[in-house]
Amino acid sequence: AQTVTQSQPEMSVQEAETVTLSCTYDTSESDYYLFWYKQPPSRQMILVIRQEAYKQQNATENRFSVNFQKAAKSFSLKISDSQLGDAAMYFCAYTSGGTSYGKLTFGQGTILTVHP
């Protein structure tokens, strides 16, 4: 079974600085997709960024970028120029491109605190 591991329960960053959240996953498949979701105190789940496993290029969305290391099964999220509104719980998630029937497997989450 696929597993997703976030080894950092909590992280903190100063406003305007850069922070990296870690995620590793375990799979034997070659076709899969990875995601980072943000859950602020409002508890709404917001998609931050998406990566296709067969694409070498790391995904970027404005201040958010990933470092996708397929061989190492690592998928970290870098937040640049951190803002107070980035404070939230961040979840890494995995889905198989093949036979998962749309199942998303989530990591345990990382709480990000942003200090002014």
Binding site: Y33, Q44, L47, E52, Y101, G102, Q108
Partner: protein, 114 residues
Amino acid sequence: DTAVSQTPKYLVTQMGNDKSIKCEQNLGHDTMYWYKQDSKKFLKIMFSYNNKELIINETVPNRFSPKSPDKAHLNLHINSLELGDSAVYFCASSQGGRANYGYTFGSGTRLTVV
């Protein structure tokens, strides 16, 4: 218009009661899901429906029964509520029985059993 809407947002009830949570999506997606987020914030899939057909049923007690009257609606009925059922329940949707583009989530229902 809210893309995936869940009602109610908060639900407080006594042990032993039966309750339902409703979910509707207006995105035209054909796949809908229920996830449970426990007190440690861990998210775990419970059920998935594709075009009204149950396709994922994780190890969930029989007291939980999903119902999909059409592909835009997926309701969750819980019988004989227990303290351990207290959690946030999320409804979500995606297209084509896959999650290649992720899910669109509802805002969650916080269920508290007392």
